[in-house]
């Protein structure tokens, strides 16, 4: 078990999410940065389907009542065990009663804590990913007890960490394809979308990221149709919204771009005030 001493800003359990239920309106969900989540699981020789803790900007304090191994990937929020700094992207041995906490935000917006064999919270519709109305909780709260398996002892603590490319966190460029309605835009709009450096507004969360700079919009709304994580919608006010993992399955705004798989992961590490620019394949 892991006891939550402090919940942090926004902490939830995530895995690969729910597929096969879109026809009854169920969002995909799952880890916002799948690259970081997969890495954390890989380091522990976990299955990539195993559930992890997604921690936004740290702030969370966890106490282990079971010995296990953990690995943390993604954003760097100065993780510590019993107040001693630990490596990211490395295998860390955890003893009973150890306490994991976080400090300063160095880079990124979300980190992933993997435990050996994954978190074992309730599985609803083939996934443990938290979502309001589907799982009984949608956020980790203080005093929650998170079930984990008692650890097999076949692992060794690593003394080095895997080096990750910093560009995953720093690149402003988001690779994308033209979306289904891109060709409804006029040349001025297209040019602006291709050249503008956009700023992420404070309206950003697991459902979507709204951008500050508006595009002049003359397009009508559409008949409701499918949207996907990574779909960039042009709203009637001209603001762009980039849909993320918890987005609805359908929407009515023009879908002008579709982010590449990795661009969604990169965006998941960005926050209010960061700049982005769309680049085309």
């Amino acid at each position: 078990m892991i006891r939550v001493l402090k919940a942090g800003f926004y902490t939830s359990i995530q895995d690969k999410g729910r597929t096969g239920f879109a026809s009854i309106g169920i969002p995909v969900s799952g880890a916002m940065d799948r690259y970081a989540a997969d890495l954390a699981n890989h380091i522990l020789n976990n299955s990539l389907e195993d559930a992890l803790l997604e921690i936004t900007f740290g702030g969370c304090v966890l106490e282990f009542s079971t010995a296990t191994y953990i690995s943390i990937s993604g954003g760097d929020f100065s993780a510590k065990i019993n107040n001693i700094p630990i490596l990211l992207n490395a295998r860390i041995k955890i003893h009973k009663n150890d306490v994991l906490s976080f400090g300063n935000i160095k880079f990124g917006a979300r980190c992933y804590v993997a435990v050996k064999n994954g978190f074992l919270t309730e599985r609803v519709l083939k996934s443990r990913s938290f979502y309001k109305g589907i799982t009984s909780s949608f956020l980790i709260k203080k005093d929650d007890l998170l079930p984990i398996s008692s650890s097999p002892s076949d692992l060794e603590q690593s003394t080095t960490s895997i080096k990750i490319l910093k560009i995953h966190f720093t690149s402003q460029e988001l690779k994308c394809d033209e979306g289904p309605e891109f060709n409804l835009l006029n040349d001025i709009q297209k040019k602006q979308i291709k050249n503008q450096v956009f700023t992420i507004s404070n309206l950003n969360n697991r459902m979507g990221y709204q951008l500050k700079e508006p595009i002049k919009n003359y397009l009508p709304q559409l008949l409701t149709s499918a949207v996907l994580p990574g779909t960039v919608q042009l709203t009637p006010s001209g603001k762009l919204i980039i849909l993320m993992r918890d987005c609805q399955v359908t929407g009515g705004y023009p879908r002008i771009l579709q982010l590449s798989r990795n661009a969604i992961n990169e965006l998941a590490q960005k926050t209010t005030g960061n700049n982005i620019q769309f680049t085309f394949n």
Binding site: A22, S23, I134, P180, S225, R261
Partner: protein
């Protein structure tokens, strides 16, 4: 009859198929026919197939290397369609209590229109509504067929907490909130039925192509049915829809 369709990539891992941009039952029928063919003939190939008013979006397991080939495959499945592949459709009877206790916007709607509260209830509950697709929230049915006399603009300020089971009208649409959620539609009643139950193997009983019928019940009946829902009794009645 074959409908005109266009096929295009939607990112690297999905294909969007679009029909003419109109809301029409014949188009829905053709979309669902195609979807049923895909579910049978290409079982397990796609991760999700999402229905819209005039579209079908197909999500693939991996990034598509050759969209041309993938689209040709889809086209050949459409043209080789066989009749007996369609799923059985149902009419579901949804009990709704239109008492003013639940239908908190009924009086305001009546004041704004030439209709009495009684007439609003009658118009709403005498029709069958077609389920076009499910979206917005898990288990939220997009219903077609609301009487034009009942079209009423959404409220200027949405309510923050509309409870699940609430039946409402927004613009030309009527719907049931499957979960507690913010909402700007005009509230006309409440159903004790759970439109979405994640604990069930099939969390949402209705599907695209089915029909919904609202039946007016009293406050007493509502509370009785509510109890039965809590006891897990199956209280929804359905009849096979032949169309």
């Amino acid at each position: 009859m074959a409908f005109k369709r266009t096929y295009k990539p939607f990112g690297k891992q999905a294909i969007l198929i679009e029909w003419n941009a109109v809301i029409h039952e014949d188009i829905l029928k053709d979309i669902l026919f195609f979807k049923d063919q895909l579910l049978i003939k290409r079982k397990g190939v796609y991760t999700d197939i999402i229905v819209g008013y005039h579209s079908l979006t197909i999500k693939l397991k991996a990034e598509v290397i050759d969209f041309y080939k993938e689209i040709e495959e889809l086209k050949s499945i459409y043209t080789s369609k066989v009749k007996n592949h369609t799923q059985k459709k149902y009419i579901w009877e949804i009990p709704v209590c239109y008492d003013l206790k639940f239908g908190i916007d009924l009086e305001e709607m009546s004041n704004k229109s030439n209709l009495s509260v009684k007439e609003i209830i009658q118009l709403h509950s005498e029709k069958n509504y077609r389920v076009f697709f499910i979206g917005f929230l898990p288990g939220f049915l997009y219903l077609g067929g609301l009487d034009a006399k009942l079209h009423v603009a959404r409220r200027l300020t949405p309510r923050l907490d509309v409870t699940k089971g609430t039946v409402a009208i927004g613009g030309a649409q009527t719907g049931i909130y499957p979960l507690d959620s913010p909402g700007g539609w005009n509230i006309i009643g409440k159903t004790p039925i759970q439109l979405f139950d994640p604990k069930k193997e099939n969390p949402c009983f209705a599907k695209a192509g089915d029909k919904i019928k609202f039946t007016s019940v009293s406050v007493e009946e509502f509370h009785q049915l509510e109890k039965e829902v809590i006891q897990n009794k199956d209280i929804i009645s359905k009849t096979v829809l032949n169309d």
